[in-house]
Amino acid sequence: MADYKWPEAEKRTHLGKSISRIDGADKVSGRAKYTYDINRPGMLYGKVVRSKYARAKIVSIDTSAAEKMAGVKAVHVIIEPGSEIRWAGEEIVAVAAVDEPTAEDAARAIKIKYEKLAHNVIDTDPKAVGDNARPPSEQTVGDADKAFKEAEVTVEGFYGLTSITHCCLESHGSITEWEGDKNLLVHISTQAVSQIAGQLAGPLETPAGNIRVKQDHIGGGFGSKFGPDRWDITGARLSKKAGGKPVKIMLERDAELMVAGMRPPAYARVKLGAMKDGRVVAWESESWSSGGLGGGGSPPIPYVFVVPNQKRKHTAIATNVGSARAWRAPAHPQACLITMGALEDLAAKLNMDPYDLFLKNIDLTGARADVYREEMKIAADLIGWKAKWHPRGDKNAGPVKRGLGLSIHTWGGGGHASDCDITIQPDGSVEVKMGTQDLGVGTRTALRIVAADTFAIPLDSVNVLIGDNRYPASGGSGGSTTIGGISASTRRGSLDALDALFAKVAPSLGAQPADLEAFQGTIRVKSDPSKSVTWKQACAKIGATPITVRGKNPGPGTLTSSGVGGVQMADVSVDVETGIVKINKIVAVQDCGLVVNKKLAESQCYGALIMGVAYSLYEEKVMDVKTGRMLNPNMEFYKLAGIADIGELVVHMMTGKGYDERGVIGLGEPPVVSPGAVISNAVANAIGVRVPTLPLTPDRVLEALEKKGGTNNASI
């Protein structure tokens, strides 16, 4: 039986190296096909009629004109008259037609009568929303009142993040088609290839085993693409009505931004109690949030630093807005800004360098305190903290002020359940088959690295097949669980496949299978390395039937574990006359256990930082109070960072002793947690006042400066 562990550093041939994405060229050249690119023979185009009201009762729906139109093949009523619309953009009716313009004409021809009802889209103030604010929940830890009395200094602040959207560059959607009456083929943009069929089975009253799900590439999900959506199920219904013809429904950009994903906002008033030396002793917070009609839970505050005495009150606000979905590290960016902002404000009040204040309290972070200590030192060196940091408020002349900010974060990221089939062919080629997806991890590349490293063969000897639910099931890509799960199952399967190969080869080498090892393209005898055969020769002993072994996670051995820490620091410039913030540099120091591919790990961090700059400075889902509509469901006024906006990004991965032995841990989420906090803290350090709410737009920056009585109207 194999020893299920990762190879020692000196024995790794591919693992942990910087290896380019194997499908990179396909992606940049357009050869890679995304769901959006899939066009099937005889395909119909589906269009969805959406509510223009945020809340209304549907009085009647008249589809007769649409049904009579030439080229219209199916009409499906999603919400029956008498039912209530819950948010603007909610799906009411869908049509399928031979081409897109006809489908749009048909959608426009559908007459819907509404009875408008009162709505609420305000999530910024529980006092402004009446009954839509739920009764608050309260929690206490220790004795906060006593601790505040004993505290030598207290500081109060307000921190918030508006709601934003996922804004997947490939919008949500699918192409669904019935093969006969029984079997459904679904091409869908999803984070969960192996889970979609089970979720479609119920609503479509079709056995999950009859539903085939495929996806080669995905253009972003960020937590918003786990299940089949109402439009996907509707697509399948339209297809059935149209005799099984494929129906393509991919969301238009406005729908993508209105209804296909929302990161809940969070706002909090925080009071911190501390001793003069910076030790934090008490936390009090009053927070509110919303995730749509269901309200919104409290972010995990105080974040990372477990303050010994706490008093927390949280209010959930119900809104008529498309429901919240998991957004890359759900609730963490919110909690991080609220906590790290309060700590930075405390440091300013104590006239302390926040670096020293964080270190003073680092033991409150628990098990990973040493990791944070080490990472803070590295981050400080990379950004030049000690040389560049100044007390709050850049005193240099001129309108452009510069500042530094820091933050720390955590995440779980243990590998999910994953099955795979590892096949060694008699000709020496290897296949990995897994019902997983590449959400940006670089899944194909990672699987190839793990298998090739285990077999000690070149990377291109391994063929990776993913993106099909006929392959062994693997978990959905969420919670940063993918890399841990897929690399662990592939490692186990590859080790078992290697054992099976050793058994076939051992007699010809006159050795016991247990005395064999794979080494640089050969199978050799450990006790007598002069006895060896090439990989190809070894595989020729397999016979006609290839070796296929099922790899699983969880399983024996520590190949993945959970829990990481990261430190980030930002250097920003703020024009105090215009309120415009520019990023000079962000440093991210991150641990994720054993790194499978250094280049892809760094790439995950770069991507997270870019996304972080966008939500810190630009992104906001703007809801119109009166009409209940989203005002910026487009890429003009729903702003994302461009390449010139992101500044210099520096990533440092923690690897080696103390990290590698924890096995592979997920990385997709942790580095996106801190950017809001570091940028907000750096802006406060630059301009001398906290800008309470993200995104840090000119209006908000100027308002904060003005409240401070500062430079708003100052001369240049």
Binding site: F637, A644, E703
Partner: protein
Amino acid sequence: MRAFEYASPATKDQAVQLLGKAWDDAAPLAGGTDLLALMKDDIFSPKRLVNIKELKELRGIVAGPRQLRIGALTTIQELADHPQVRQRYPAIAHAAEEIAGPQIRNMGTIGGNLCQRPRCWYYRAGFGLLPKDEAGESLVPSGDNRYHAILGNGGPAYFVSPSSLAPVLIALGSTVRLYGPEGKRDLALEKFFRIPQSDADREHDLRSNEIVTDIIVPAATGLKTAFYEIRQKEAMDWPLALAAVALRVEAGKVSSARVLMGHVAPIPWRSEEAEQALIGKAISEEAAQSAADAAVSKATSLGRNRYKIQLARVAVKRAILQAGRGGVR
């Protein structure tokens, strides 16, 4: 997008004959960067598109000793790159190169930049150019007006003029040449823009069967010009406020001034207050500051856009100081 008829005339006479008596009859198609988006969003659905890209006489830049003639089909990038424009009218080149991003600059035309429709998010959501709720009340003053007008905002129009080129072209005293079934019509560019007073009005003095053919800019010899734009992102973002100035300085003092602001009012906004504040003074910090203060002295907030008053003030001040430095940014 709704179905439409497509015509591709060979002459401008054919083109204007193919345009209609009503706006919904037909629309001229040049770069299409705004028109096609309006059509896709079902905000504007003309029955016919008249492709004017084949009209060669509408192309090109002629830089003569007394004037610059810019054909309406000149792309924004061509304008930004043109050697004589860069040399003699650096503020125009500067304004052009700040617009959107390479894709838009390579497709978008000068005529289109002047004729594009406002980006007001209520208008773009289908509530009309003078957006109203079902009770007929304007949505903007009580709504989210963070990007709306701070000048000329007494209603019913609250949007901001989206052209980044118009302010600098007006500062330089440009003329726009229009062509319709009755022939050509020259207008001071300043008069081309107007604030609609009812739903029947448009924001341009352009008839539904006219096209823009040329922009004529007089020689700028001896003028100190500058353009200063404030926007949040480095590229692909709309300005929050911008200023363009053209100053003549004699014996160390400003003898004539044109101060224009963009993205602050339903039209490119000329500030005579700022111009008066400058005349007779040497260009200095103080003079620039008082002109900037004068420029926004009549500005008012609609509720969410007060910060734009500050941005407009800063843009004017920085543009004046930049002009004083000989246009050095």
